[in-house]
Symmetry: C2
Subunit: 433 residues, 2 copies
């Protein structure tokens, strides 16, 4: 048997604690799988408080970077979080000493992934981050290895369980956004400041990592157009249901001759699609590749045990000497892809309008659409309450065939300027195959 | 750059041809991923007929074993098929010379997987078979590596696209089994002799491989209880729909203190479960692990391109020196698990009975159930046509709470013997969480 793999773990929150327990519980099986004992020899955390964990003889480090730089460890696990600061310092300390790094830190990878990848390469140290995207779902390995023979055309996914929980409950129980968000906070799914989740930023970090792996391109989080779910109303969910869709917050990255388009926004997904059927806190990712067609993975996107499962998989790979490049190819082989901005996005649109109830309103809207060569697939006017008098508004929902973001925005702005539409129109992109 | 990886491909059917094209199309990307050129230097097929493939300077071998034993190749791809004969001879020829083997041959692995694994180990040659189960879906890698930190409790899957196509069309279009089978044959989904698919044997081969990887146990295809879909009627599908289920042919392997239970049979799956939502020729597998919870993969389970995607992934792993043991652990570490026979299966049951229309029939059935301590969850008596006279039969559907296979079979046999039930009862197991 090869000598033991000595691990340092920085961060003993829910994931760190679950990892400690997992490595103990699965010790014999992990030894059988990797041919070595995997032992935690050092830990670091913000405090030394009792956590009910059996840390054996592991030495406690107040400074995670000191643990990362210690000659006692063969592998460093970073579970601190945050793009910069302690996590980033410790990550660099490990890699620059040639120590393999396993991290769950999506924010750090989105911001510094390329630099860390380069550091890993130049020091011959593996860098692995299965746990950084979609919790326990092995999506990194799937893109990096399982689909290595494919030219990937699109990656689309539900990457934030908090948003999916909120949208699922709004839809199934008819509860308003605020009530569902409050419940998510009470259940520990959402932070006290939920902006990072519901604003789509967490999804964007994860999407940037997936796009890099999928397309062999440099991480480019700045290229992502980001919209959150705050504007989604029960009226939208009801209309979606009637039209055969569900509304999901998706991260979508697409490759075309134009370049790479990356976007995070609420999306109309046909009910039959696996992504539409993913409810609650689960995550799901669909990958479209030229050889495989469509592959979907569905599972827990967060939680201590599920995320520790992903960390453990990375540790096993390194323990048995697997040497896949962090982003599937050497950093220098990653492409600097052309950004396709959101204005050039092409697709179908769902539009909900507060139409002024007077003769000619709908004709005006139709004309503005026609001027932009937008073809309307469906129009739905409902809930026109009795007693609506002239110049009150009625809700109208439109679905368009494929058009561009620029065209739809222009048509709607003009319809508003014409006085045919009051309030800002609700615009939700439709994801089709 | 490391020296090129020279490949021999035996079998130029739809998968072999797709692989040849994939390796050409993705040449540059595969080089970036693995650091080497991947070149086909030898091929073997039943005939030398023109296939419209650019085989470059590859040498043609009439005998696949001669190709496998050639010193010109660094890796042998077996796409011949069949448990024995040419495929098996060639596989052994490669491994016993220390040449890595990539195979899509589930029948061979189910029959000889352990022996081939041992041969691979003793000669230090990788053995990889991602393409053997569920086509393009990277389920082997997921079990072997992605979920390495988990104690897997259950693997359940739709592993045969032909059966799922037939059941999906029966359900959605109300067409009888024979018509759907004929269409499947016309579309090339089913063989002229469809027994291997619809009888559940193909699913069993795949299940045996998955169970070995999931539980770290020796392949034991003889332990599998196998039922096909031939007995499923439109009446069953309609009753399932009404009760909130879909009927799927599942392969299920479960680990408990008793041992390992492996079974293939038509199954009632709750509509909300990802497996129930998998329609048409797609495959899907759900894995229940102690750390991750439930993970589901959905994708194409067959087809030349999708299967070639899986073969290419294995080739890439080997090209870059990945060394995972074929079954996740050394062969000698694989457990000889206790078989849990079908009679000891515990679960809920769907039962459709032709009940003799006379006073006391239902009471007799209820009594026989009660004697076996079977608790009835739901009972549905429908379609009692007008004009039914004494001693005609009416269809009755029962759902039971968890019981054992022995108990339900005994209760039904006695009810038939009592004269309360005519014809053989239809019994379908319910899969619950």
């Amino acid at each position: 048997m090869t000598k033991p793999l000595r691990i340092g773990v920085a961060g003993l929150g829910s994931v760190g604690a679950a990892l400690v327990r997992l490595l103990q519980r699965r010790r014999a099986d992990l030894r059988a799988r990797t041919g070595r004992d995997i032992t935690i020899v050092g830990v670091s955390a913000r405090s030394r408080r009792e956590r009910g964990l059996d840390l054996g003889g592991a030495r406690f480090y107040d400074d995670p970077a000191a643990l990362a730089a210690s000659s006692e460890i063969d592998l460093f696990v970073e579970l601190i979080g945050g793009a910069d600061g302690a996590a980033y310092d410790a990550a660099r300390a490990a890699l620059s000493r040639g120590v393999p790094l396993v991290t769950a830190n999506k924010a750090m990878l989105a911001a510094h992934g390329l630099e860390l990848g380069r550091l890993a390469e130049s020091h011959g140290a593996p860098l692995a981050f299965e746990a950084a995207v979609a919790g326990g779902i092995p999506i990194i390995k799937t893109l990096r290895e399982g689909l290595a023979g494919n030219a990937v055309r699109r990656v689309s996914g539900i990457l934030n369980g908090t948003c999916n929980y909120i949208l699922s409950r709004m839809e199934t129980e008819g509860l308003p956004f605020e009530a569902c968000l409050a419940d998510a906070q009470r259940l520990g799914y959402a932070e006290a400041d939920p902006t990072f989740d519901i604003g789509g930023f967490d999804t964007a970090h994860k999407l940037a990592i997936l796009a890099s792996l999928a397309f062999g391109a440099k991480i480019d989080v700045g290229a992502i157009s980001i919209e959150g779910i705050q504007s989604i109303t029960l009226a939208d969910l009801a209309a979606a249901d009637e039209l055969g869709y569900r509304i999901k917050l998706l991260g979508v990255a697409e490759r075309s001759e134009k370049g790479i388009e990356q976007r995070v926004h609420p999306t109309m997904v046909a009910k039959a699609a696996p992504l539409a059927q993913t409810m609650g806190v689960h995550n799901a990712i669909t990958i479209d590749g030229d050889a495989i067609g469509a592959l979907t993975l569905v599972g827990p996107g967060a939680g201590g045990d599920a995320t520790a499962s992903a960390v453990a998989a990375d540790i096993c790979d390194i323990a048995r000497g697997d040497v896949a490049p962090a982003f599937g190819r050497p950093i220098d082989a990653l492409e600097e892809a052309e950004r396709v901005p959101m204005q050039r996005h092409e697709g179908g649109y769902y539009v909900r309008l507060a139409v002024v109830e007077r003769p000619g309103s709908v004709a005006t809207i139709s004309t503005r659409m026609a001027e932009q060569r937008i073809s309307i697939e469906a129009i739905m006017q409902k809930g026109k309450a009795k007693g609506v008098t002239a110049n009150e508004v009625v809700p109208v929902v439109l679905l368009t065939h494929a058009t561009t973001e620029t065209a739809i925005r222009e048509a709607l702005a003009l319809a508003v300027a014409d006085g045919a539409v009051r309030e800002t129109p609700q615009v939700i992109r439709i994801e089709r195959d």
